[in-house]
C-alpha cells in the first residue's frame, strides 16, 4: 500500500520529464539560434526596413512549414538554400557582369550533433501559429509531366526569375526549390504560392494571380523535380 503513492509520484515525475527536456531545448534554441532567427513574429507592426535587416529566416512557424525528417538531416549537414544569402541587395557587389553575390563568402550555417538536431527538430515542429492557413488548404498532391511543369514554372508564371528548379538554373534571390518537396509540407507550399503575404507581410515574393488549380500545378512540379 505504502509503495503505491511512491509509484504514482514516480509516474508523475516521468510524465513531467519530456516537458522539462523540452524546456531545456527551448532554452538552447533561444541561446544558440535566436541571435539570428526570429522566434516570434511581429513583422506586421514594423516598417518595411525590417526585411533588409533579417539575419536569418523566421523559425516561429517552423511546425507549419518544414518536414521533420528534412530538419533533422539539414541541421546536421546544412547546405545552402538561398544562393544569394538572406538579402541580395545588401550582399551584392556590382561589377562588369552586374550584381553578383559571392556565395563562397557567405558564412556556413552551424551544424548540430545528431541528438541535438533531433531534439531541436522535435521542438521546432511544435511551433504552429499558422494552423488556420494550413487548414484552409485543399491541395492534393498529384503529378505533372516535367516538361509541362517546367514551362509553367518558367515561361508562364516567371517563378524562375527568382528561384532555381535545378542547381545552377534560375534566379538566386529566392530559396532554391529543387529540394522544396523534401523540405516543406505540401500544404505550406500551396499556401505560400497562393498568398506569401499571409505568411510574411514583407516577403520579397510577389503575390501572383494563380487560382487553386494553377497553384496545384506549380506545387506538383516541385513534387516532380523533388522525386526525380
Amino acid at each position: 500500500m505504502k509503495g503505491i503513492p511512491g509509484i504514482a509520484a514516480l509516474a508523475a515525475l516521468a510524465a513531467m520529464l519530456p516537458l522539462a527536456a523540452q524546456a531545456d531545448v527551448a532554452g538552447d534554441i533561444q541561446q544558440q539560434c535566436a541571435g539570428c532567427h526570429a522566434l516570434s513574429h511581429d513583422y506586421a507592426t514594423q516598417g518595411i526596413a525590417e526585411r533588409a535587416e533579417r539575419k536569418a529566416p523566421p523559425l516561429d512557424y517552423a511546425g507549419n512549414k518544414f518536414q521533420r525528417d528534412w530538419l533533422v538531416a539539414w541541421l546536421q549537414a546544412p547546405a545552402r538554400i538561398r544562393p544569394a544569402g538572406m538579402f541580395a541587395p545588401r550582399l551584392a557587389v556590382t561589377g562588369p557582369d552586374g550584381d553578383v553575390v559571392d556565395a563562397d563568402a557567405l558564412p556556413a550555417h552551424p551544424a548540430l550533433p545528431a541528438a541535438q538536431a533531433e531534439a531541436m527538430a522535435d521542438y521546432l515542429m511544435t511551433l504552429k501559429p499558422f494552423d488556420a492557413l494550413i487548414e484552409a488548404e485543399s491541395y492534393e498532391p498529384g503529378s505533372i509531366a516535367l516538361r509541362m511543369g517546367k514551362m509553367n514554372f518558367g515561361k508562364f508564371k516567371g517563378c524562375d526569375g527568382c528561384h532555381q528548379d535545378e542547381p545552377g538554373t534560375g534566379g538566386v534571390s529566392g530559396p532554391e526549390l529543387y529540394t522544396a518537396w523534401a523540405r516543406l509540407q505540401p500544404s505550406f507550399i500551396s499556401s505560400y504560392i497562393a498568398n506569401p503575404v499571409a505568411w510574411d507581410p514583407h516577403t520579397m515574393m510577389p503575390v501572383g494571380d494563380a487560382n487553386a488549380d494553377a497553384v496545384a500545378k506549380l506545387a506538383n512540379y516541385l513534387k516532380a523535380i523533388g522525386e526525380k
Binding site: I48, G161, G171, V207
Partner: protein, 114 residues
C-alpha cells in the same frame, strides 16, 4: 506667423523626405533583386533571366512612360502591358500609396526629380 510658416514648411519637407525614403526602401526590398542595386537592370537575378529587366536610369526610355503607366506595370505586372511575365505584379504586396512612392523613386532614378 513667419515662424509658423517656417515650421510647417519644414514639416512638409520632412514629409516629402519620408516618402522618398519609403520609396527607396521599397525599391531596395522588392525591385533591386532584378533591377539592380543601382537600378541599371542588372540585379542578382538578371543573369538568369531570358528577358532583361528595364534599366531604370535610362532617361529616354523612362521619360517615355507616364506616371500612370508606371503605376500600372508595378501593380499589375509586365503581363498587363503585353511585356514579360518576368516583371511581377506587386498589387498584392503593396498599397496604392506604396506604389506612388515607388513611381516617385523611379522618377528620381531616371530623371533626377522627386
Amino acid at each position: 506667423m513667419k515662424k509658423i510658416l517656417l515650421v510647417s514648411a519644414l514639416l512638409a519637407m520632412a514629409g516629402v523626405a519620408q516618402a522618398a525614403d519609403h520609396g527607396e526602401q521599397l525599391y531596395e526590398t522588392y525591385c533591386m533583386q532584378c533591377h539592380g542595386v543601382q537600378g541599371h537592370g542588372n540585379g542578382v537575378n538578371a543573369a538568369h533571366m531570358s528577358v532583361q529587366p528595364r534599366d531604370h536610369t535610362d532617361t529616354k526610355e523612362m521619360a517615355a512612360r507616364t506616371d500612370d503607366e508606371l503605376f500600372k506595370v508595378i501593380q499589375q505586372g509586365g503581363k498587363a502591358i503585353n511585356k514579360s511575365v518576368l516583371m511581377p505584379m506587386w498589387g498584392g504586396n503593396l498599397s496604392d500609396d506604396d506604389i506612388h512612392a515607388l513611381v516617385a523613386h523611379l522618377r528620381q532614378l531616371c530623371c533626377g526629380k522627386d
